[in-house]
Structure formats: structure tokens, C-alpha cells
């Protein structure tokens, strides 16, 4: 099982150079420490995923790595440059797609591409080539005169990605690029990320979609400004400590309500129409779950222990670290 997951993203680059080196990075806002001593390393050519609850410090870290925010303490070397000293030079070597839609809604598709080509100093023949490439990639060859604000979200995001890499940066930062994008468009977007990675681009991407986390070579899980886990999706999955049971029942919502806060049951949550139940101890768990369901007047159609999903592990690791913060 785990070998398959290890290889999820294909063969990770071996003996590659370092694209990002972060040491004890800290960022404080007044009394609040948003990023609290974060260290990690990303190899050139890797797809590196950032996971964590809202407010864990992912965006703040990304902003420091892209030179948009000065670190309070610590160091980050990105594409060979110190982000605190060389923020401007850094801009030419990276692409950044922020969480908030970054294109001009009242400009046409072609105008946005021209604007970003100008900003990145992409000139002449290369500009023609790159904008043609971006249009092809976004599937907007026949939509150049459309107002960007009127495009469906999935297309906007593909165009934003095209704009972010017009200058062919070796490093790409994507902050929740697929939030709210439908499943079909989300897959198309990830095909683009893979295309870029196959050409040697290092990609650092944050996401709340656990199936997207599976597409990454390695993952960093943050909570309350700190790193709580790091590794390949298979390695992260192996950190699961609580056994997980999957339940099929006639009314999953009421089953969840009946199972929460019962002795021996750590967590119960819906997973599609099934219920995933984290228990403190697998021994005797089936009987305890059955009792709790009977007490709640719910039937138990099918119950089995399963391999924890990445989401189960994510929730359990964050809980172990004191739960998610409020900001």
C-alpha cells in the first residue's frame, strides 16, 4: 500500500539541488506569533505541499518566501537568494499565485497577459511565444477578448497560473489555487502543475483538498505557526496513531451525533455518506461503537477497520497538537 502512495507523484528528483532552505523562520504581528520557528528544505523539481488548518501560518510563510513580508527572525534562501535581503531580485526568479484572485477583472484576457508580460520584462519574440503558450495552456485561445472577471473560476485560475509563469521562473508558489474550483477543473489545473514540474519547475502549493495532497512528492503539515509533520504522503499516513473504523448506517448524521463524546471514541465525522470513527483502542472498539449506536437508536449496517485516509491523519495530528487556533 505505502509503496504505491510513495510513488504517487512519480519518481521524486534524486540528488537534485536545493530550491528552498528555511531555517527557524519566525513572523510576529504584535503579540501574535503567526509563524513560530519553521524549518524545511525543498529539493529542485519537487512538488511540495503545504497543509494545515486555516490560520496555521501557511500564507504568512508563503509571503515571506516570496519576499512580500519580512521575517521577524530566521532565514529563508529561495532560488539561491536571501528573501530578507534580495526581495526584488527574487521577484524575477519566482512565480506567485495568491489566494485572492490576482488578475484584473475589468481587463480582457489578452490585456492581462500583456500587463503581466510587461511587469516581468518579457519582451519581443519571447513575449509572443509565452502569451501564446499561456493561452493554449488555459484553453483560452478563442477567448482572448473576453473580460477576465466574467470567466468561470476554473478558467480564471488557469489564466492566473499562466500569468504567474510567463517569465518561466524555476520556482512557483501557489496559495490554495483550487479553492472552490469544481472537481473537473481541479484535475485540469493539477495536470498543468505536473506539466510544469516535468519541465523542472519546483512547485510549493498549499491546499485544503486531501486528494491533492496525495499528488505531492512531500508534505509539510503546520498548526498554530509550527511544523507538526513532514514527509511523503505515505510517511504522513504512517503517523496515524488512532485506529479508524468506517461505518455504513441508515442515518449517518444522527449516528455521528450519537457517537461523539462517547467513552473510547475520539472523533466521529461524515465521510461522504459513511462515518469515520477514530477510537482510542481498536480492541473492543466494535462493541463500544455498537453500544453507542444502539443508545442513539441507530442501526449499524456495516462496520470495519480501515486504513486511515490522509484526512483522518490530518485531523488526528492537529488534535494531538492542541487543536486548530482561531486565527
Amino acid at each position: 500500500m505505502s509503496t504505491r502512495h510513495e510513488a504517487a507523484a512519480g519518481v521524486p528528483p534524486r540528488n537534485a539541488g536545493t530550491a528552498i532552505e528555511v531555517r527557524e523562520l519566525v513572523r510576529r504581528f504584535g503579540a501574535f506569533t503567526a509563524v513560530d520557528g519553521v524549518s524545511f528544505r525543498v529539493a529542485a523539481g519537487e512538488i511540495y505541499g503545504f497543509l494545515g488548518p486555516n490560520g496555521a501560518g501557511k500564507t504568512t510563510t508563503l509571503k515571506m518566501l516570496t519576499g512580500l513580508l519580512r521575517p521577524t527572525a530566521g532565514h529563508a534562501i529561495v532560488a539561491g537568494l536571501d528573501v530578507a535581503r534580495d526581495a526584488l531580485a527574487l521577484r524575477a526568479r519566482i512565480g506567485y499565485m495568491s489566494q485572492k484572485f490576482s488578475l484584473y477583472g475589468d481587463l480582457t484576457v489578452a490585456e492581462n497577459l500583456e500587463l503581466f508580460a510587461g511587469l516581468y520584462g518579457v519582451q519581443g519574440e519571447r513575449r509572443r511565444e509565452r502569451t501564446a503558450w499561456a493561452l493554449r495552456m488555459a484553453g483560452l485561445e478563442r477567448g482572448t477578448e473576453r473580460l477576465t472577471g466574467e470567466l468561470p473560476l476554473g478558467w480564471k485560475q488557469r489564466l492566473a497560473l499562466g500569468c504567474a509563469v510567463l517569465h518561466e521562473p524555476p520556482l512557483l508558489f501557489l496559495d490554495e489555487p483550487t479553492s472552490g474550483v469544481d472537481p473537473v477543473a481541479r484535475r485540469a489545473f493539477w495536470d498543468l502543475i505536473y506539466e510544469l514540474a516535468a519541465q523542472g519547475t519546483t512547485v510549493l502549493v498549499s491546499t485544503h483538498y486531501m486528494e491533492e495532497a496525495e499528488y505531492c512528492h512531500r508534505l509539510l503539515l503546520m498548526n498554530r505557526g509550527r511544523v507538526i509533520a513532514e514527509g511523503s504522503p505515505g510517511e504522513i499516513r504512517a503517523l496515524a496513531t488512532e485506529p479508524i473504523f468506517a461505518l455504513r448506517t441508515d442515518d449517518a448524521a444522527r449516528a455521528v451525533a450519537g457517537l461523539r463524546d462517547r467513552p473510547g471514541i475520539v472523533e466521529a465525522a461524515m465521510f461522504g455518506r459513511a462515518v469515520h470513527i477514530a477510537v482510542a483502542d481498536a480492541h473492543g472498539a466494535e462493541a463500544r461503537i455498537g453500544d453507542a449506536l444502539a443508545a442513539a437508536g441507530r442501526s449499524c449496517d456495516h462496520l470495519e477497520q480501515i486504513t486511515p485516509s490522509l484526512e483522518d491523519v490530518f485531523v488526528s495530528l492537529v488534535r494531538r497538537e492542541g487543536g486548530a487556533g482561531a486565527r
Binding site: T3, R4, H5, A7, A8, G10, V11, G52, P53, N54, G55, A56, Q99, P152, L153, G154, W155, E176, S179, G180, V181, D182, P183, V184, A185, R187, W190, Y194, H208, M210, E211, E214, Y215, P233, A252, A253, R254, V256, A257, A269, M270, F271, G272, R273, L310, E311, F314, V315, V318, G323, A324, G325, A326, R327
Partner: protein, 306 residues
């Protein structure tokens, strides 16, 4: 069958030459949890805005508890709560002040407020942050506060436009707990979502594509459409193998789900044929998810249009 709370008939909305919502028909029974799903631009938000009485229809009508949203948009509003994708929280007010503001807006009697607030705090875990400014909350907490504000007047109908947009898996669980609690208490809920595992939890869903209805049914029968035709292939190099599968004559569609490849076979094809494909390490029958069906229906629709 009880009288529907929501009746939608021929509901249409045009923006210039674009028909965003095209003759929708559906009914929602009291107490039902009803999902609106579809690709970006399918008309989900436009439909919810019309139901909420904030956007007049170009044609057709919808009634909420018998009140027409076309003729009497204000008349339907007291019965419903609408949480738009960008809900109007006041960032410079505290959690408590935001909730009180919405309680004032909807004229919730003062004596009822403490009990309702406490209940919402219990579900949302917002109690310990009561005095924090809304602007200083995380995205997930903001969504929970927005939902709490929408629920303070105990509406009969709850309209939610992608409530879990950009929300982490933990807050997503919390939000769904609140929703289920509301449904259990009899609040009729219509929710749009881009997470199809969420849509699977609904009693019924309408699947929209380019403003039109592709399907209107409970999720389980929809998933049965692919029964006996969905297989899951494993591979060391999923992306490469997916492309090989797509080129195979027995394969109608192949898509990545995390690290697995979900394959929809052509009618009557033998799944063992796939074992011969280079790089395929295993093949097993799969239980179709709503996402499998969604991809299949939308792709079929797109192929027809091309």
C-alpha cells in the same frame, strides 16, 4: 408527502446573451437537505440568489412557503436565511457583536438571545473567542461565525452558497455538524458545494451544467449509474498509466483520484483487459462515488456539445 416548502418552476435568468439558469424545475420538502452541484459557471450561485430574493428571475418563478420570489421578494425573506459566498461580517466588530447585530436585524426577542447564542457557540466552538474581532479570525472560524449569524433568527429555510469554500478539513467537519443539527431540528436546507463528498450527504441533489438540469435525484441511485463499470487501477506512475488507459479501446474515461486511477469501462468490457497495460499493478472493482458520476456526466455533456 407533505407540501413542498420550495417550488421552482421554469426558473430562468439571463445576463445579456448568456442564459445562466435555464428553466429549472424542482421542489424541496420541509426538512430536506438538498444539494446544488455542478461545474464552475453552471448557475449554482445565480439559482440561490434568485431563491433568496436578491436577484429577480428573467422567467419562471420560485415560491418559498407559498410566497413568490418574483412577485414578492421581500415577503419570502423572513422565512429564510441566505449565506452568500462573501457573507457580510463586520470585521471591526467582535464575534458577539456580529451575532447581536444579526439578531437585531431579524428582530430576535432579547429574552431568546442568550440561549440561542449559547447553542450556536456550542456547535461552532466560537464561545471562547466571543470578544475577538471578526477580522482577526481564521477563514474557517469566519465561516462558522457567518453561519451562526445566518441561524440566529431560526429560519425555516437555509440557503448556503459554498459554505466550505477555502475551509480546512477540521472546520469543514464542524460546519457540517452544525448543518446536520439544523436539519435534525427541521430546518430545510439548500446548499451548493464543489466538494462532492459533501453532496453525497444530501437527501437529494440537482446536478447543473450550463444552467440546465443534468440530474435530479438522491445521490445513491445516481451513483448506481456506473455500477459494474467502474474499476480502480493502481500504478507506480499513475499519471503516465492514466494516459495509457485513456488510449485503450475498453476504456471510456480514466481520471486520477489521489493516487488511484478510476476507470469507467465501455459497456460490457472486461476489466481484466486492463491488466495487460504496461505499468498497471492491480485492477479491482470500485464503488462509484458521486465525483465519478459527476465527471462522467459532465464529460458526456461536453462531448455532445463539441
Amino acid at each position: 408527502m407533505s407540501e413542498p416548502l420550495v417550488r421552482v418552476s421554469g426558473l430562468t435568468r439571463r445576463f445579456g446573451a448568456l442564459t445562466a439558469v435555464d428553466r429549472l424545475d424542482f421542489e424541496v420538502a420541509p426538512g430536506e437537505l438538498f444539494g446544488i452541484v455542478g461545474p464552475d459557471g453552471a448557475g449554482k450561485t445565480t439559482t440561490l440568489r434568485m431563491l433568496a430574493g436578491v436577484l429577480p428571475p428573467s422567467g419562471g418563478d420560485a415560491t418559498i412557503a407559498g410566497v413568490s420570489v418574483a412577485r414578492d421578494p421581500e415577503g419570502a425573506k423572513p422565512a429564510l436565511a441566505y449565506m452568500a459566498q462573501r457573507f457580510g461580517l463586520y470585521e471591526d466588530l467582535t464575534v458577539r457583536e456580529n451575532i447581536d447585530f444579526y439578531a437585531d436585524l431579524y428582530r430576535v426577542p432579547r429574552r431568546d438571545r442568550p440561549a440561542r447564542r449559547e447553542r450556536l457557540y456550542r456547535f461552532s466552538s466560537l464561545g471562547e473567542f466571543e470578544h475577538r474581532l471578526a477580522g482577526a479570525l481564521s477563514g474557517g472560524m469566519k465561516q462558522k461565525l457567518a453561519l451562526s449569524c445566518a441561524l440566529i433568527h431560526q429560519p425555516r429555510l437555509l440557503l448556503l452558497d459554498e459554505p466550505t469554500f477555502g475551509v480546512d478539513p477540521i472546520s469543514r467537519r464542524d460546519l457540517w455538524l452544525i448543518l446536520h443539527e439544523m436539519v435534525a431540528e427541521g430546518v430545510t436546507t439548500i446548499v451548493s458545494t464543489s466538494y462532492l463528498d459533501e453532496a453525497e450527504r444530501c437527501d437529494r441533489v440537482v446536478l447543473l451544467h450550463e444552467g440546465r438540469t443534468l440530474a435530479l435525484t438522491a445521490p445513491a441511485p445516481l451513483q448506481q449509474r456506473l455500477a459494474g463499470r467502474l474499476v480502480i487501477a493502481s500504478a507506480e506512475q499513475p499519471r503516465v498509466v492514466r494516459d495509457r488507459l485513456r488510449a485503450h479501446p475498453a476504456v471510456r474515461r480514466a481520471a486520477l483520484f489521489g493516487t488511484a486511477i478510476h476507470v469507467v469501462l465501455e459497456e460490457g468490457a472486461d476489466p481484466d483487459l486492463l491488466r495487460a497495460i504496461e505499468g498497471v499493478s492491480d485492477v479491482a472493482w470500485g464503488e462509484p462515488s458521486l465525483e465519478d458520476v459527476f465527471i462522467d456526466l459532465v464529460a458526456a455533456e461536453a462531448a455532445e456539445a463539441a
